[in-house]
Symmetry: C2
Subunit: 172 residues, 2 copies
């Protein structure tokens, strides 16, 4: 185990060890998954902490504003629930609070007047713009030791990984 | 946007778009974070689903067994809570259920008789061995389109990313 390795694997999903894996290929795949997961976890944790300390907000609230921000003409609750799936947020409750706080406003859905959609208020738009700029800057700062080429290579390899998962990950 | 890109970004944390980011460097960092997060999310979701469908268990239960498996002489509850942090699991409740199910047994902590530790029962060890083998195989299968070199390169670059985050991610 090289220096730094212990700390790097310590936030992997609990106590996996390389001996669990039989073949060399399998061992490398498992190591890759643990490292990928630990990278995503540590970055997400910092973003959650900073959203709280810098803006007094949560990742699900930020995610909701980000999803609505892309849709100037409003977004229905079911669309928003779908977009927020990964945050494990209760979209209805989160939206209700954002409306109370004046960041979102309810609006008739342009496609179906019986459906309520939400959009950003001017206050919500301004608040989100500040948070999104800070969020982008935090990430840029965290990744600063990677060269442009390395970022590009990671983008390429992670895309290939994602496509592999989609092609081979439909059933065990 | 290239083919496949929309689907790949669709599980990113809600509705980020490239226009949020100013400079080219910052845009690439944000894209990398969204892609990293979406890769980790999609793999984790599949593992959760398969643990449920193939073994009728959950990721926090699997994580708890994996953490305990590494410690033949037992693991205290506080050690286990730390190891399971990323699963957002309630370690106490999960362990109580695993004891009820006969997969874990309570044992005196070798270092301090006043502290209770847990270890795998023979049944728990056998069950975990089956799950861990399947888990490694699922991951190997999902990543199968990556060459050995690409897996190695991802391991290297993600390690560099992790070290960058640790060096620059202590405060916003």
């Amino acid at each position: 185990m090289r220096p730094g390795e212990a700390s790097m694997e310590s936030e992997a999903p609990a106590g996996f060890s390389e001996k669990l894996a039989g073949s060399a290929h399998r061992r490398q795949s498992l190591r890759l998954w643990l490292r990928l997961f630990s990278c995503a976890t540590v970055v997400e944790k910092r973003i959650r902490n900073w959203l709280e300390s810098e803006f007094g907000t949560t990742l699900p609230r930020f995610d909701a504003l980000a999803a609505v921000e892309r849709r100037r003409d409003g977004m229905t609750m079911s669309e928003l629930s779908g977009a927020m799936m990964v945050s494990n947020g209760n979209a209805t409750g989160i939206v209700a609070r954002l409306v109370e706080d004046g960041l979102l406003v309810r609006t008739p859905d342009p496609e179906d007047a019986r459906v309520t959609a939400v959009r950003l208020s001017p206050k919500g738009r301004a608040a989100f713009a500040r948070m999104a700029a800070a969020h982008a800057q935090w990430i840029d700062e965290m990744f600063t030791d990677l060269t442009e080429d390395e970022v590009g290579e990671l983008l390429r390899l992670l895309k290939k990984l994602r496509l592999s998962v989609e092609a081979h990950g439909t059933s065990p």
